[in-house]
């Protein structure tokens, strides 16, 4: 299932112009700060409302400003891991992990809770509050929370930005282990190409709101 996005969006002096097809698999979006990476993710998630856009997820139309179509974020079935963990401070780790599950039909839960807890090594943290976790642990919970919402599209915005150097290397293998069994289209934003060079199937390089390069990872 692929995502197509055709957008013109302006915020102050910044302008984003993008016509892209994001294929299934692992897509890396790279580029310097201010090139429009996060804005692109927010448009895919429905957190930013662009001036003009058509966004499709497979057969579903999420945005069509010409026809007034707008699917709000909570109906898009996405998993979004932000730069900061953005955990719910008043909930335990377990409550955070299960937040995206409650309102869905049980048969839609194709991703098992125990599996995610095991893969991300969260079993010993379940009763704690986010304030008592390290940065790396918090980001692991944020990743688990996004996965347990059974997303049809996974968005990751520099998920290692808030993690200290020592713990950076431990998070990506968790994601790899998960992706080995669940083939969920993943869009991974980073300005560190080395983070994703061995994982990406497809690369989109942005600069100043425009696409510099787009193609299979090997051809960059």
């Amino acid at each position: 299932m692929s995502v197509t996005i055709d957008v013109t969006h302006r915020a102050g002096a910044f302008q984003l112009e993008l016509v892209e097809t994001i294929p299934a698999g692992f897509t890396a979006v790279v580029g310097p700060s201010g090139s429009g990476k996060t804005t692109t993710l927010n448009i895919l998630a429905g957190l930013t409302r662009p001036a003009r856009a058509v966004v499709r997820m497979g057969e579903e139309v999420w945005v069509d400003t010409g026809r007034g179509t707008w699917v709000p974020p909570h109906r898009r079935r996405i998993g979004y891991v932000f730069q900061e963990p953005r955990l719910f401070p008043h909930f335990t780790v377990r409550q955070n992990l299960l937040y995206g599950r409650g309102r869905q039909h049980e048969r839609a839960n194709t991703i098992a809770t125990d599996e995610v807890i095991h893969l991300l090594n969260l079993a010993s943290l379940l009763q704690r509050r986010p304030a008592r976790l390290s940065g790396g642990e918090q980001q692991r919970v944020a990743l688990g929370r996004a996965l347990l919402a059974n997303p049809q599209l996974l968005l990751l915005d520099e998920p290692l930005a808030s993690v200290d150097q020592a713990h950076r290397l431990e998070i990506l293998p968790y994601l790899d282990r998960f992706r080995a069994t669940h083939r969920i289209p993943t869009v991974y934003v980073t300005h560190t190409w080395a983070e994703v060079s061995s994982r990406a199937d497809h690369v989109i390089e942005l600069a100043a709101g425009r696409v510099e390069f787009s193609g299979p990872a090997g051809t960059r």
Binding site: L47, H74, I78, G79, R103
Partner: protein, 228 residues
């Protein structure tokens, strides 16, 4: 000091008026605070001004407006009496309405500050997890704004307990029906030889206020403990 039956009934009436005023205005205050903190709509500034009016006009004006609107011949008051048999004027319910209207700006302010302190990014992450705006509000915004909500209800209760000007204008000063502590103190002060009675009532009102403060302090502390 032991309380006379009359003093007890004054205290009871004051508590009833203040509690009803506080709890009846809680949900409208939360709604307005949320609109002011998060809403983006035409007329937001007008709503903000409207809510603050009772804070800035003389209480006697608020009382008079209430009389014109909710009095027996008032636009809404006449309707309420004809169709629901319900009456505000010269009743304790009217005292509660006046107290609620006077306390409303303070309550809204405190709750609004509480809501504004909630990180919108955390609310956004809840939305990406499938939570509708209403569900985000109930499970994320409101619990995280709880300190502001409690502070708002407390200050509302304190204001309602001491309300004087709008109350006496709207529902008059009827012993046993609308004569709250503040109004009873006023009556005794005006009455020749009423100083002793006034002093007892003043001490009573101080004691009540201190009790309310201590209760709120305990409530906040027990909450902090449960967070740790």
């Amino acid at each position: 000091m032991s309380l006379s039956a009359e003093e007890l009934s004054i205290v009871w009436l004051s508590l009833k008026v203040a509690l009803v005023a506080t709890f009846a205005s809680a949900i409208p205050a939360i709604a307005v605070a949320w609109l002011l903190a998060r809403g983006r709509f035409w007329g937001r500034t007008a709503l903000n001004v409207l809510v603050h009016i009772p804070l800035v006009v003389p209480p006697v004006v608020t009382g008079y407006v209430l009389l014109r609107v909710f009095g027996r011949r008032g636009t809404i008051g006449a309707w309420l009496e004809q169709y629901l048999g319900f009456q505000f004027s010269f009743r304790w319910t009217g005292a509660a309405l006046a107290a609620a209207v006077m306390a409303f700006p303070l309550v809204v302010r405190a709750i609004r500050l509480g809501i504004e302190q909630v990180d919108r990014k955390v609310e956004e992450s809840a939305a990406t997890l499938g939570a509708s705006p209403w569900w985000v509000f109930l499970t994320i915004t409101l619990p995280l704004a709880l300190p502001g909500l409690l502070a708002g209800l407390l200050i509302g209760f304190a204001k309602a307990l001491g309300e004087f000007g709008a109350t006496i204008t709207f529902v008059s000063n009827i012993p046993g029906e609308t004569q709250t502590l503040a109004l009873a103190i006023y009556t005794q002060i005006e009455r020749p030889g009423g100083e002793a009675a006034a002093t007892r009532l003043i001490w009573l009102s101080v004691a009540l206020s201190v009790l309310a403060l201590v209760a709120s302090e305990l409530m906040i502390r027990s909450r902090q403990r449960s967070d740790a």
